[in-house]
Symmetry: C2
Subunit: 399 residues, 2 copies
């Protein structure tokens, strides 16, 4: 019997999904599980976005252009104009989710063995994409004490080696919710110029900024050839299942190279491109309503968390995640225990242990990520569960 | 300015699409171009398949399960039962087109530097996927004289090295249309057992067999742990834009590994999974009608080709491609010339030069691939153009 590859073995499993069997078992016992563990919003996909697909009128579900429908790419130009991002449609390659945009960026810009610097904690699937592209993620650590601010320039410089080719950020950040300031973006700009690095900027949560203003990497002066924007409609329009993202850059060599990878896989999904195109025409106040909802959820979550004895949660500036420090010894064990051995009024809560978001062993052992993708009442119930669980958890520490 | 990666440079461009600018220029001159160059069927996607998406009734376009919706996977089990392929739904991982299934198979089964044997000519995008996975394609040559029959067992054995881990076939074949016989499949079975190789079997055109019967690699005895089936709804239901495929195997280690790659990219497209699920319920005679249409197109195309002096086209047993030998010196030049410098009654034809389907330099220089994805009248017109073009082409040889 032939054996699988070493990379197939070494490919990291999803740290977020490993608790799924425990959640399923809890549900089978009749326990209601509040899912704060994944970034699947409960917000309805805008009706007109779904309707655009439902009312589509074509006879053949054809391949689209490998870079995506020209009509959609031209529409996206107007979307980016709203953020003062001046590009033309040929600088946009529509991808199968943000995931594929990341893979394309890695493949086109990095060779096996090359290094990317990523501030940790970071979106765990970057590890998977790095494994596929055979590149190395080097981390520098951001801390809960500073609310996960960008590490200092000196920390980056210490991590740079002759193999370093890029910096990868997610802004606003998943998992921390941190929104990088103008000053922090300036640090990244200087670093990339000084060391001739690509800047991969994952801006999946661009619209969801509550405290402070988002500065796109695309607007950093002098970085036109360095910046690869990673984008997706998944979170923006609560359209995760569409699998439509985009890679945007002004670097023509990168575009030419990415197009070859895009052509090999023929085209991005056709149906969801229709959805994405319709979404650009949503009324201007669409995000106001959604943002207000997320912001009040954030406020509820953060307030409740900080009210629990021993818990600390910095106030995240964007996205829909919060990282919290719990007064316990090991959140991997705790997150399993709370599903497996605990319930309060037949309810419990599913969270993502933070260790999966850190590369440095031992970091994040007392932290969890919570996604505020539930309504406020559910968030309140979930926080009651968490508080009750922490009161009785055997692994509680004295913090 | 940071430079792109070596793999980004070395990634092969799509050989099929490089003539596109010449076709566009011809159209701008008012010339009607018959597209025999790509595998985009003109057959309408079944209405009930599109309607399933149009009538879908959900509020949130959510991530599906990373392996695809369970309802769809269970439905696919019944689809495969029709071909006596006995699997359970957990042995199916729904992918973003057949393309992703190939990438997943390469990633999970092969390490950088590993070798796959592929009979040439072969589907050109395999080169791209091999470049992404950093594996080496070794070819053995099939010939137009034998209608592109499987090369002899001895040819395979000569190509096997200590790095050989897999054989990749496409059956029925793109680009040759060749349908492997039971005896040829038995050769592959023996090879894989003897040398402990994976057999990647791309069966995208399973339904389109005209001369002879299709034997799925999944039904080869004793190869349960070796066979990875690559599948797609693209050609089957004329649903190329859906980007829904599947990786199917009974090898649990491969399934476990592929799931990690599948989880990293979150999920396959949701809309087209609905389409794929509805397609399994098409009436039993659906393929009879489509097959009859393709078969009569094949007959028209092959007859017309062989009626042109100096042209030879073996009769393909399946898929919707034919390879033809032309009495010219260089089909790359000819396929460009016929778009750029020729028209007959304001019409011309676009074909795929065969060199892009061969890995061995120099092979296929007098061959083209023609996809019979146009109606018979268009095929007839296209063949008139081709004949007239060959009569005046300066690079004509004496064959």
């Amino acid at each position: 019997m032939p054996t699988i590859s070493q990379r197939g073995e070494q490919m990291p499993p999803s740290p977020i999904r490993k608790l799924v069997p425990y959640a399923e078992a809890a549900k089978k016992r009749g326990v209601n599980v509040y899912h704060l563990n994944i970034g699947q919003p409960d917000i309805e996909t805008p009706k007109q976005v779904l309707d655009a697909v439902r009312h589509s009128d074509f006879k053949i579900l054809e391949y689209s252009h490998s870079a995506g429908n020209e009509s959609y790419r031209r529409k996206l130009v107007t979307y980016y104009e709203r953020f003062n991002i001046a590009i033309n449609y040929q600088q946009i390659i529509v991808t199968t989710g943000g995931s594929e945009a990341i893979i394309f960026a890695f493949m086109a810009c990095l060779d096996p063995g090359d290094e990317i610097i990523v501030p940790e904690p970071f979106y765990a699937n970057y590890n998977g994409f790095a494994a596929e592209a055979d590149v190395k993620i080097t981390t520098i650590t951001s801390n809960i004490e500073t609310g996960f601010a960008l590490p200092a320039m000196a920390d980056f410089e210490k991590a740079i080696t002759p193999h370093t080719r890029a910096i990868l950020i997610c802004n606003p950040n998943n998992p921390t919710g941190y929104l990088y300031s103008q000053e922090e973006m300036e640090v990244l700009r200087q670093l990339c110029l000084k060391y001739n690095l690509f800047l991969f900027s994952d801006e999946a949560y661009r619209e969801f900024c509550y405290t402070g203003q988002h500065l796109s990497a695309m607007n950093l002066e002098g970085l036109e050839e360095n910046v690869i924007l990673i984008d997706t409609i998944s979170k923006r329009y609560s359209a995760c299942g569409g699998r439509i993202g985009a890679l945007v850059t002004k670097n023509q060599s990168v575009l030419d190279s990415v197009m070859k990878f895009a052509q090999a896989r023929l085209s991005p999904p056709s149906f969801a491109q229709i959805a994405g195109e319709a979404a650009v025409d949503l009324p201007a106040d669409y995000f106001d309503v959604i943002k207000a909802e997320y912001m009040s959820r954030r406020d509820t979550l953060v307030e409740r968390l900080n009210a629990i004895p021993g818990v600390y949660c910095p106030n995240p500036g964007g996205a829909f995640y919060a990282m919290a420090r719990l007064p316990i010894d090991d959140t991997d064990k705790f997150c399993q225990w709370i599903l497996e051995s605990f319930s309060y009024e037949q309810q419990t809560v599913m969270m993502a242990p933070a260790t999966g978001f850190y590369a440095t062993p031992g970091l994040g052992k007392d932290e969890v990520r919570l996604a505020y993708v539930l309504n406020k009442e559910d968030i309140r119930h979930a926080m009651v569960c968490l508080q009750k669980a922490l009161e009785v958890y055997p692994g509680r520490t004295n913090k």
